[in-house]
């Protein structure tokens, strides 16, 4: 019986592969866009402008403090009511990038704050502009400090992407739902789905742990 079911699940490999592709596409896009958002938010959060820093803090806390599923629903079901109509894929990428940006922003801000004040002083004393101080002196040091945490965050991002199956995107999780309707063995089907996530995430977990043990990221 088990072997028969396994055989049938494996027969659905094109669906699984498609789901896996969607999960990877969502994650990679959200990772890229979320990193851009995250660095921008982090720089503002750690910046000298108090008002801006607090505003960013509030924004970030809002998205860190509400369920991601709710955010997906807001983007997909509520934005159209104010005239912003997004496809399920775009909505998924938007929601996922935004929440990733919020988490990455907090990590980046912490990294920037960990760079000693003397570094900024030395850079200022050399005549660098604020932007140059950030780009040439502060960020490279901050990135090294936070790389292990960032990689860890990427793992969470990949797993969070499963939530967007709720708005009908055929990602890895939803492909599991589809298959389980034909092969009534949830443990088996979702075991295989879980394995799919694990295969993507484990190398990142391993990398993050290795970098943490070394105390810093490799020189890129």
């Amino acid at each position: 019986m088990f072997w028969l079911q396994l055989n049938r699940v494996v027969g659905y490999w094109p669906v699984l592969l498609k789901g896996l592709g969607m999960t990877v596409a969502l994650s990679v896009l959200a990772l890229l866009i979320g990193s851009v958002i995250g660095f921008a938010l982090g720089i503002l959060r750690a910046g000298p402008n108090r008002t801006l820093s607090r505003a960013v803090g509030l924004y970030v806390d809002f998205f860190r403090g509400t369920p991601f599923l709710l955010q997906v629903f807001i983007v997909f079901f509520i934005l159209p009511q104010v005239g912003i109509e997004l496809s399920a894929f775009t909505a998924g990428v938007v929601a996922l990038s935004n929440v990733a940006g919020c988490f990455i922003g907090e990590i980046v801000a912490a990294g920037i704050q960990s760079v000693p004040a003397g570094q900024k002083e030395a850079a200022a004393a050399s005549g660098f502009t604020r932007a140059q101080q950030m780009r040439l002196i502060v960020l490279p040091q901050a990135v090294r400090v936070v790389t292990p945490s960032l990689v860890g965050q990427f793992v969470l991002l990949i797993k969070d992407s499963s939530v967007v199956s709720a708005i009908g995107l055929l990602d890895l999780t939803r492909s599991g739902w589809m298959i389980v309707q034909n092969v009534p063995n949830g443990l088996l089907v979702f075991g295989i789905v879980g394995l799919g996530y694990f295969v993507i995430c484990y190398p990142l977990i391993w990398l993050s742990r290795r970098m943490e043990r070394r105390g810093q990221a490799p020189v890129l």
Binding site: P116, G118, Q119, E121, A122, A123, A124, A125, S126, G127, F128, T129, Q132, L136, I137, P140, Q141, R144
Partner: protein, 242 residues
């Protein structure tokens, strides 16, 4: 080159600079000493705008630091600053530490900056350390890189904020030697230090500060043998004892 006129600065209710008037001319070497908390570091940090002040006038190389439109960046290109804790960039090699500002602030090409940087690292005795990162260098070596880093901008004025205070005793001299040769080449320098031997050797003037005010200003000979103020003599008896 540097002209303080009745400058005052407060940290909250603490009066850290009290009515400072002081003129440093081109090529002059001025040593500033005093107990910790006397305002001597604050004094030289005002000169390149690292610290603001609330009252008075301070003009450095034609830049009026009191005015709100002062172009701090342009001023800082002409004023080198050496910190007590070196503050080298840990992610850059010695040579990169020295060349990064000339490249990005002065707009030199990488090749030009490296020619200049190599010559300066040779000059401070670190010709064989150019590719080392700061953490691979001793304190004395790091401070010499920091001096070369400031010099590579070809500043008109060099400020030193207790450059040897964070160093082990055996490394102090290698840093002082670099500073002595710089002074002898005619650099305009203000040096906050407790190294009285250095003051004797190269200073044109020695200033003693106490509670934010300049208590004594004299040439080294007079300063060390015939200080007028009781507080200066008391300070000297403590630092010259060992």
């Amino acid at each position: 080159m540097i002209e303080f006129t009745d400058v005052h600065k407060w940290f909250g209710s603490l009066h850290v600079l009290n009515d400072i008037s002081l003129t440093v001319t081109k090529g002059e070497v001025v040593v500033v000493c005093g107990r910790s908390g006397s305002g001597k570091s604050t004094l030289i940090r005002c000169i390149n705008g690292l610290e603001p002040f609330q009252k008075g006038r301070l003009v450095v190389d034609g830049f009026d630091l009191g005015s709100s439109s002062v172009r701090l960046r342009e001023l800082r290109m002409e004023v080198g600053f050496v910190f007590q804790s070196f503050n080298l960039y840990p992610h850059k090699t010695a040579l990169e530490n020295v060349t990064i500002a000339p490249i990005h602030v002065r707009g030199l090409s990488k090749a030009e900056a490296e020619v200049r940087g190599r010559a300066l690292l040779e000059k401070v005795g670190l010709g064989d350390r150019m590719q080392n990162y700061p953490h691979q260098l001793s304190g004395g070596q790091q401070q010499r890189v920091a001096i070369a880093r400031s010099l590579c901008m070809q500043p008109k004025i060099m400020l030193f904020d207790e450059p040897t205070s964070a160093l082990d005793p055996e490394m102090i001299n290698e840093v002082l030697e670099v500073m002595v040769s710089l002074a002898r080449e005619g650099m305009t320098m203000m040096v906050v230090t407790h190294e009285m031997g250095f003051a004797r050797k190269v200073a044109d003037r020695v200033i003693f500060m106490d509670r934010g005010a300049i208590v004594e200003t004299a040439d080294p000979e007079t300063f060390f043998t015939a200080a007028k103020s009781e507080r200066t003599r008391d300070f000297l008896s403590k630092v010259l004892h060992h």
